[in-house]
Amino acid sequence: MNGIIDLGLVQVLLSYIFIIMVLIIVRRRGINREKEIAISSVRMTLQLIITGYLLAYVFENPHPVVTILIIVVMEGFAVHTVINKFKGKLSDKLKKIIAFSMVTGTLSCLLYFLMIVVRISPWYDPQYFIPIAGMLIGNSMTGVSLGVKSLQEGMTVQKSWVEEALILGATPKRATREILNQTFDAAIMPTINSMIGMGIVFLPGMMTGQILSGTSPNTAVTYQIAIMLGILGAVALSVMIMLQLGYRSYFNEADQLIE
């Protein structure tokens, strides 16, 4: 196998030609998005550079407290993003449920994946812990975010159906069953779709990264298969916990819809 080609500063700067191209296109077409594109490019660059230095340091000086701290920050950021990305008002109860479901859904899958599947040693090995946590948490963030949006829409648009079901003697759980099923579907479909296209339409990021850094494609593939299953598990579990607890936030103790 050939050695890895290191990208120098000039080579990285050369890839900015793509951003300049996009900026020219949006300006010419009068699409008012130049600022967002420029800011997000710069932000991405800075964030990744800082993360690179941080990870290099953490990998060289592994410590359980540091690993845990990084996971806490990742979870916190993910929960914050789900709540902030939602356009509209979420009840405090639902916000707490989102946080709980994200953390329990991702952490349980992460620990199983690292301890039982990969069997890392020491248990806090940041080289495995952090990137795999990133993938599980990141994908669950997208799933829960879609789930919250779909749940809120369902409870608004189909409110009269829920109310009629209550009138006809349904429990709140039964009255919201169709909405919860639709929501679960909407939340996990992107993950399922990406699994379908994987290896044919595109090579997933982690696998590409491993191959580029010299890992044999076979090793990269086995990791990718395992991590995709872990991602699906984490997304499904987080969304399911959010739904199982979240639907109750629309009802009071007397099983009445909260106005």
């Binding site: 159906w161 109310e163 009138i167 006809l168 003697g169 349904a170 009255a175 007397a254 009445q256």
Partner: protein, 216 residues
């Protein structure tokens, strides 16, 4: 006695110090916006009083589990929701909601003729008129045989003849089954024809409670 109100308030909409509703047909009459629908919704605990207590068969509603109460005290809204699917799905849906065994097609067909709905069980419900939807929703309630029916203008979308047929069928049905009706209507004619008791309600208060000798 099926319901008793004690010092009941609901926001600034309802203000009832004492009220009893007995077995039989009780009709609530009064102007729009007077609190009749709010009163009905309190009886099946879709909402709860902000002050005071309502008793059902001697037990405080606050102590009765809402879902169990709603299976005994069932309401037909003024604009009932029809669920996507067929006439059959809609007639049987409450059995699904209550985890009960669904009635067979013969029972459902029989119900269609009782509620004067000239449709087949496999027909879709999208194109039903307001009156047809109301009768379909009434049919799904009648199949469940609750102890008390709460009707919020059950015949508002019907012509006079159909209205008479439906209300007569209802009143005969509940009498035979030993059930009760609490019904909101604007029609004094219907009230005088079918009520055992007429409650006149305005601005959230019970103005009068009159025992009625039925015309029919």
């Amino acid at each position: 006695m099926i319901f008793r109100f004690s010092d009941v308030r609901y926001r600034d909409i309802i203000e009832i110090d004492e009220l009893t509703i007995n077995k039989g047909v009780t009709i609530l009459l009064g102007p729009s916006g007077g609190g009749k629908t709010t009163l009905l919704r309190m009886l099946n605990k879709m909402i709860s009083p902000t002050k005071g207590q309502i008793f059902f068969m001697g037990e405080s509603l606050a102590k009765i589990e809402s879902v169990q109460l709603r299976r005994k005290v069932m309401m037909l809204s003024q604009n009932p929701v029809v669920f996507p699917g067929t006439v059959r799905d809609n007639l049987a849906i409450a059995f699904e909601f209550q985890d009960k065994i669904k009635p067979d097609d013969d029972a459902l067909d029989d119900m269609l003729s009782r509620i004067q709905l000239n449709k087949k069980l496999d027909d879709g419900v999208i194109n039903l008129s307001g009156g047809e939807k109301q009768r379909l929703a009434l049919g799904r309630l009648l199949l469940l045989e609750p102890e008390v029916y709460l009707f919020d203008e059950p015949s508002s979308s019907l012509d006079d003849d159909t209205e008479d047929l439906i209300i007569r069928m209802l009143s005969m049905h509940v009498e035979k089954q030993g059930q009760s009706i609490v019904m909101v209507t604007h029609s004094k004619r219907i009230a005088e024809k079918y009520a055992d008791v007429i409650l006149e309600i305005s601005e959230g208060k019970v103005l009068r409670s009159v025992k009625n000798e039925r015309d029919n």
